[in-house]
Symmetry: C2
C-alpha cells in the first residue's frame, strides 16, 4: 500500500545469537525433603520416550542427594546446595569430608566442570519452599538471556501460579548452588508446600513448568526467534533474622500474621514483621520499601533468616535466536 | 410471680460429681519439630506468676523429648508418642534401648504411673499437623466428661478456629501416646502448619485454647456446675495409605486436590482421593461415607497413612461438678 511504503523503514531488530542448548540437566532432591522435584525426576525417568535419540535436546535427570532423599531430610551432614563455590569444588577430600562436599564434586564432574566449556548447557534444579512464593526462577545473573526468556515464556503460559525471577548478585566463583555449575542455570522454587509433604497442586505446577521450559528449549534449538521484551527482576538486597533470646539463641517471635504469606508484597518502613510470643509487635526499621520473599522458610531458621528482601527492576531483554539454526 | 409458681416443678438435673483437677501437665515437644507447643511451654515457664502457690491448680510444664527438640526432628530413634503402652512402659532397659523408650519411662514416673492414683489429673499434650484440621482434642475415650466438657468450652469460646473431638477406640493398656498417662488427657492438635515452622496464627490459637482450658479447670475446681449437653465425636474407623510402587514402595500419587485441605468434609464412595503422578484419578472405594482427617500429614508417610477416616456421633454429656466444692 502506498501510504505504508512512505513510512520510514523500521530497522528489523537484530536478534542476539546464542549457541543451542543441546543438553539440559533436570535435578531433584538437592534437598532430600523437598518432594516435588524428587517425584518429578523419577516420573520423568519412567516416561523417557523411546524416540529420545531423535530429540533436539538431551535431558539428563539427576537425584542430587540420594542419601538425603532416602532419609527424607534436607541434608545428611552439610547443606549440599551451599557446596558449589570454586573453593569447595576444589577442596581436598579426606575421610572426614562431609558426604555433601564429596557429592558436590561428583555432580561437578557429571554436569560441569563449573565455568568450563564441557558443562551442560542448562541446569534446572527443582526446589520447594514453605513460603508462599508461587514459582520463582532463582539465578546468579540478571543478564542471562536464556533464563530471562524462559521466565517470560513461563509467565505467559502458566495460568495457575505467579512466576517471578530472583537474582542473587554473587560472582560465579562464590555462587554456592547447583545451578551455577551449568553454562546457564536456575533453581525452580515452588511453594507453599511443607517439607516432607507432596501437594498435588504444587507437583502439577512444577510438572507444567518443566514441560514448558523443555518446549521452549526445543523451539529455541529449532531456530525460532524470540522477541525482545522485559522481565521484572527481584535482586536480593539483605535478610532479616528472627528476634532471638541473647542467651539461648531461641527465637522469641514469629512472623507477623500480616506479613506471613505476603511474599512479593512491598514492605514499607514501619510495617509489622514479627509478633513476639508475649504479644509485642515488631516493625520493619529499614528506610526503603523492599519486596520480602522466602518469608518463614523452614530451612532458613538454622541459617538465621526469617525473610529476604529484594529490590525490583525491569530488565530489558533482547530478541534471541539459536546461532546454529 | 403467681403464674410461674403454678408451672410444674422441673427436676433439677443431678450433676455428676468428679474429683478436682489439682494438677495439670502441659506438655510440648513430644515431637521435636512441632514448634507451637515447644514455644508455648517455654513462654508459659517464663511467665509463671509469683502468686502461683495460691492457685486452684498446679500447672506442670514439660518438654517431652528434649533431644528431638534440640535437633528439630520428630524423634531421634523411635516415635516417642508410640511408647506409652503398658508393655513399653514396663519393658526392660538395656544399652541398646532407644532413647525415646527410656524417655517414655521417665515421663511415666514424672506424670504417672499410667493407670494409677498418683498420675496427674489431666495431661494436655501440644501437637501440630500439616493437615488442615483446625483444633482437635484427640483422646482414647468418648465418655470422659472432663475432656468432653473442656471441648465444649473451647467450641463455645474460640472464635478463630473450628474445634473438634476425635476418639481413638483403643483400650488404656494399648493406648500409645503421652496423654494416656494422666487420669484424664488429650492431645491438642492444631494445623495446618509445616513441621519445623511456627506460624503466628497457629501459635496464638494454641495459646488461647490453653488459657481457656486452664480457665475452665479453675472454674471446675472452684465448684462451678457445668450444664449437660452434647458433643460431636469423630471416632477413628480406618486409615488409607498412598498408592505405592510394589517394588520400590515409593508413593505413586498425591492426595487429590479436591480432597487436600478438606479434613472433616464427608467423603463419599466414588469421590477422588488421589491424583497419580501420571495424571490418573483414584477414587474412594469404601461403602460408607466417612469423615477424613489427618489428610496428607507429613509424619504419616512413613507410617503408611495418607488419611484417616472417622464416623461421627453425637455424645450426650451430663452436667458435672467438682466433688470437693
Amino acid at each position: 500500500m502506498e501510504r505504508e511504503s512512505q513510512l520510514p523503514l523500521r530497522n528489523k531488530v537484530e536478534a542476539v545469537t546464542l549457541p543451542a542448548l543441546s543438553c539440559v540437566a533436570l535435578c531433584g532432591g538437592t534437598h532430600g525433603n523437598e518432594l516435588s522435584g524428587i517425584y518429578l525426576v523419577q516420573e520423568t525417568l519412567k516416561n523417557k520416550r523411546k524416540g529420545e535419540a531423535m530429540e533436539a535436546v538431551t535431558v539428563v535427570t539427576v537425584i542430587s542427594n540420594p542419601r538425603a532423599v532416602q532419609q527424607r531430610v534436607r541434608y545428611t551432614e552439610t547443606d549440599l546446595n551451599r557446596c558449589f563455590t570454586y573453593a569447595m569444588l576444589s577442596a581436598p577430600v579426606s575421610e572426614r569430608t562431609p558426604y555433601e562436599i564429596i557429592r558436590s564434586q561428583e555432580l561437578n564432574s557429571l554436569l560441569g566442570p563449573k565455568g568450563s566449556g564441557q558443562a551442560v548447557d542448562l541446569i534446572c534444579d527443582l526446589h520447594n519452599t514453605t513460603a508462599n512464593m508461587g514459582l520463582c526462577l532463582i539465578t546468579y545473573a540478571d543478564s542471562d538471556w536464556i533464563c530471562l526468556h524462559i521466565c517470560k515464556h513461563l509467565q505467559r503460559e502458566m495460568a495457575t501460579i505467579p512466576v517471578r525471577y530472583i537474582h542473587y548478585d554473587i560472582p560465579l566463583s562464590e555462587a554456592f548452588s547447583l545451578e551455577s555449575v551449568g553454562k546457564h542455570g536456575f533453581a525452580m522454587e515452588i511453594g507453599p508446600q511443607p517439607h516432607g509433604v507432596i501437594r498435588s497442586n504444587i507437583f502439577t505446577a512444577m510438572q507444567e513448568a518443566v514441560h514448558l521450559m523443555l518446549d521452549w528449549v526445543r523451539l529455541f534449538n529449532s531456530g525460532t526467534q524470540f522477541d525482545e521484551g522485559s522481565v521484572d527482576v527481584y535482586t536480593m538486597v539483605k535478610n532479616i533474622d528472627y528476634p532471638r533470646d541473647p542467651y539461648t539463641h531461641n527465637i522469641t517471635a514469629a512472623v507477623h500474621p500480616e506479613l506471613q504469606d505476603r511474599d512479593f508484597c512491598l514492605l514499607y518502613p514501619g510495617d509489622p514483621i514479627f509478633l513476639s510470643f508475649s504479644g509485642e509487635i515488631l516493625r520493619y526499621k529499614g528506610k526503603e520499601p523492599l519486596y520480602p520473599f522466602f518469608i518463614n522458610e523452614c530451612a532458613y531458621y538454622e541459617k538465621g533468616v526469617a525473610l529476604l528482601l529484594a529490590r525490583k527492576s525491569k530488565v530489558k531483554i533482547p530478541a534471541i535466536q539459536c546461532s546454529r539454526a
